[in-house]
């Protein structure tokens, strides 16, 4: 099947695959995938992502001794300083990651890390330790396409998670249900797959973990663990945290839940139950290999179906990073992107709650849509009139550089000319996942043409 001509990637297929599994590809990036078989392309994507490493050095603060916690500060001024530092560190960390996404040769690795950040949503607003957020990020990155089981077990004793969901406050003598509830509702099984009694029993199994704030390490304290027998999801035993997670993973609902979420991330908002079941079985029989599930998903008929193209909505991070990658726009610093994506509803390391960013149509409200359009407009205005904007300081805030001629030329277009019919088709295909809603007015020249496409409602889709 893989060598049948129909499965060789057309330019539209290549753009679809790269747009969905990474950020938006540039025409040059797309071109290098055209003609590959689907299997070759997907295997190359997965192989590259599995081998990838963060190319950019993280901000230096992550290697410094763990910062003392807020509550160790003597007075109000010291506390203010710690909070100021925390904000600065968080912005530096988010900018580092965004820059990494902008420049990486393996966008899928970044997308999967982002996917897990959203799945195991943890906010620095409660954790209050940017170094801890980086350590959690490393854990997500390490397992992003590896074993979900290892990732889950790692998360359950990740200090940032223990703080965020109050696992560090859960002792045999002082049960706290927060983590126990969310791990079943949001991380493994989905709502309705467990009872309130299961939550109480799981909380007992998870008791005894604490975070040493001086070293930012998780510690198990046996005397604070409830070693008694528990009944969890129909099983009985003296479960500890590891057992409890494995009991959850043994539920048939667990692989289905994870695959359903992958489906909504990469394929469409409406998972096909039959196809999900098949992939879920492979996920489980492979020992919870995420790359195996992803391969099945990306080679499935649904991923390539015309009806499932352009049915998803770009997240703010995908919009910002994707626009820069798509137009091969260079930027001096990704710091402005931190504020831009935050205003559009996605501040990295600070998801709104444990359920993460709801995504899909929730990305688009009147507030965020106007912010998204404002970003596109400013970006194109900045590259259209670099000198003038420079003087006004608008481009200076983004520090963007765009070689318009070189980008347009392969598509048969020029910065100062109205594109002809053939070039128009190529421009639309390069910029939008589907036909534009508004026809671009006659007489629109090169760069203004791109701006018009960037402001078209279809630009929000992927």
């Amino acid at each position: 099947m893989s060598n049948a001509p129909s499965t060789r990637l057309s330019p539209a297929d290549a753009r679809h695959l790269l747009g969905r599994t990474g950020f938006m590809p540039s025409p040059a990036e797309t071109a290098s995938w055209v003609g590959l078989s689907r299997e070759t392309a997907v295997d190359r994507l997965l192989g590259d992502a599995l081998r990838s490493q963060a190319g950019k050095a993280p901000p230096s603060f992550v290697g410094e001794p763990i910062r003392p916690p807020l509550r160790a500060q003597a007075d109000v001024e010291a506390r203010k300083e710690v909070l100021r530092q925390l904000r600065a560190d968080t912005v530096a960390l988010a900018a580092w990651w965004l820059q990494q996404m902008r420049e990486t040769p393996t966008p899928l690795a970044e997308r999967m890390t982002l996917f897990w950040h959203n799945h195991f949503a943890t906010s620095v607003q409660k954790v209050r330790q940017a170094q801890g957020m980086y350590l959690q990020h490393e854990l997500l990155r390490r397992h992003a396409l590896g074993s979900f089981r290892e990732l889950l077990h790692g998360m359950a004793r990740d200090p940032a998670m223990l703080v965020y969901l109050d696992g560090a406050a859960n002792r045999a003598q002082a049960p706290n249900e927060n983590f126990a509830r969310e791990v079943m509702e949001l991380f493994t099984l989905g709502e309705g797959q467990y009872t309130e009694q299961d939550i109480r029993e799981a909380a007992r199994a998870f008791s005894g973990w604490a975070v040493d704030r001086e070293t930012w390490t998780a510690r198990f304290r046996p005397r604070q663990h409830d070693g008694g027998e528990k009944t969890l999801l129909g099983r009985r035993g003296r479960f500890d945290a590891v057992d409890a997670l494995d009991v959850m993973l043994d539920q048939p609902a667990a692989p289905r839940f994870i695959v359903g979420k992958l489906w909504r991330e990469f394929v469409s908002p409406a998972p096909d139950a039959g196809a999900v079941d098949g992939i879920a079985q492979r996920l489980r029989s492979s020992g919870w290999r995420i790359d195996v599930a992803l391969r099945e998903l990306l080679l499935g008929a649904a991923f390539w179906a015309p009806a499932n193209r352009a049915v998803l909505i770009k997240s703010p991070v995908e919009l910002a990073v994707g626009t820069l990658r798509q137009f091969e726009i260079q930027l001096d610093s990704a710091v402005p992107l931190v504020g831009i994506t935050a205003r559009q509803g996605q501040m990295l390391f600070s998801p709104p709650n444990v359920k993460g960013w709801p995504g899909y149509t929730d990305w688009i409200t009147s507030t965020t849509l106007l912010d998204r359009k404002r970003f596109t407009e400013r970006l194109f205005r900045a590259v259209e009139q670099p000198r003038m904007e420079m003087m006004q300081g608008a481009a200076a805030t983004l520090g963007v550089r765009f070689d318009a001629e070189q980008w347009l030329k392969p598509l048969g277009a020029w910065p100062d000319r109205e594109p002809d019919a053939a070039a128009r088709d190529k421009l639309v295909e390069a910029v939008l996942a589907t036909a534009p809603v508004h026809p671009v007015p006659a007489g629109t020249v090169g760069l203004s043409y791109l701006r018009a496409l960037g402001l078209d409602p279809a630009f929000q889709l992927k």
Binding site: D166, N176, D362, I364, L370, H438
Partner: protein, 386 residues
């Protein structure tokens, strides 16, 4: 117990004469929904201080009776709510006790969905209850600038499905609306959603144009909730002679206090009360207080017994506030859930259904048939003088 009724018997209550004559039509009325995100701890908001179980359930979280702002011999408000006391004394604030629903769901996300859609615990609905009120006749009452405005939050909640917009700052919203062009709805669900939002932006921006001219003397708190209140007041003030906005959605919190609740909760309630007091001042200045109803809600209350992290886990029923110039205030309406009779999760058992609140708003505030709004028949609650 309806304290107002008791007072009436004593001849102490004065009917709100004159209100009926000056009342705006249903279409001119404003509803402000204030969502206490994360699950507000009702027992430490409206405190049953006289009940012996209260202090037993909350060894370190129980508020002392002498710190409370006493409403009557059984209940008192959290001391941080002091800015609300003048409203209580003016009888513009009522407390609804024990709001919840059968088979309570303790997931934040599912439970707020139940409140937003006014569904049963077992049914999944797409549209918010406000959208259903629009379809039930409210939409025909006026050509609204927008059927709802959510301020400072991404989600539309109860406004979902109505022709509603979200914004942070009305002036910036109008300014940025130039980036949108009119288009017919088309395409797949994602594209149709984008186009629907764009169409809402265009309509709302038309009605909100000129809002920049509205300057208010009222001082608003600097915190996020205070600033959302400011935007609300500005929009209401600027809507004279225009279509108006019948519903606002504001959020405050997070009230998800699993640990070290005492300080966090006190601070959140203080901001809430400051914001609500400023809301009244701003709407009085805008000449709209008499036609405004403010309602708080939350996905659930919190566990009756504190946990041992100095916090509370997810709970069920909780009291809520209704305030406004047309509220029959200074009263406690309904029954406090029995602290001695908790449910299987050691949670309070609700004594009033939240859909009674919505049904009352539908019938009495908007004059529409509440049945399609709350999908059933629910007894009304006596908190409105309209």
């Amino acid at each position: 117990m309806d304290r107002r009724q008791l007072l009436s018997l004593g001849g102490l209550a004065f009917p709100a004469l004159g209100w009926a004559q000056t009342a705006a039509s249903a279409a001119g009325r404003v509803l402000v929904l204030v969502e206490l995100k994360g699950g507000n701890d009702g027992l430490n908001t409206v405190v049953p201080y006289a009940h012996p179980a209260y202090a037993q359930l909350r060894p370190s979280l129980a508020l002392k009776a002498d710190e409370l702002l006493r409403l009557d011999g059984a209940l008192g408000l959290h001391p941080s709510l002091a800015p609300l006391v003048p409203l209580w004394e003016k009888r513009e604030l009522a407390v609804l006790l024990g709001l919840g629903y059968p088979q309570p769901n303790l997931s934040h996300f599912r439970s707020i969905e139940i409140w937003d859609t006014a569904s049963r615990a077992t049914e999944y609905l797409d549209e918010g209850w406000v959208a259903r009120a629009m379809s039930a006749g409210l939409r025909d009452a006026a050509r609204f600038t927008a059927e709802g405005v959510a301020i400072g939050s991404a989600s539309l909640g109860a406004l979902s499905g109505a022709n509603a917009v979200s914004l942070n700052n009305p002036e910036a919203f109008v300014n940025q609306a130039r980036l949108v062009r009119p288009a017919q709805a088309q395409g797949n669900a994602a594209l149709a959603h984008v186009l629907r939002v764009e169409s809402g932006v265009l309509q709302a921006a038309e009605g909100l144009r000129g809002q920049g001219a509205v300057s208010m003397a009222t001082e608003f708190p600097a915190h996020a909730f205070g600033q959302a209140v400011r935007a609300t007041c500005q929009i209401v003030a600027g809507q004279k002679g225009k279509g108006g906005v019948p519903v606002f959605h504001l959020t405050h919190g997070s009230f998800d206090t699993h640990r070290a609740q005492l300080g966090t909760h006190a601070n959140l309630l203080k901001q809430l009360a400051e914001g609500l007091a400023a809301l009244k001042a701003g709407l009085v200045e805008a000449g709209a207080w008499e036609r405004t109803l403010v309602v708080t809600y939350s996905e659930f209350g919190r566990r009756a017994r504190q946990n041992q992290s100095g916090g509370t886990d997810h709970g069920t029923a909780a009291p809520h506030f209704v305030l406004g110039g047309a509220v029959r205030g200074g009263t406690v309406i309904g029954t406090m859930p029995d602290l001695d009779r908790l449910d299987g999760s050691q949670n309070l058992v609700h004594t009033a259904d939240f859909r009674q609140l919505y049904a009352t708003i539908a019938r009495r505030w908007w004059g529409v048939n509440p049945e399609p709004v709350v999908r059933g028949q629910f007894d009304l609650l006596p908190f409105l003088d309209v």
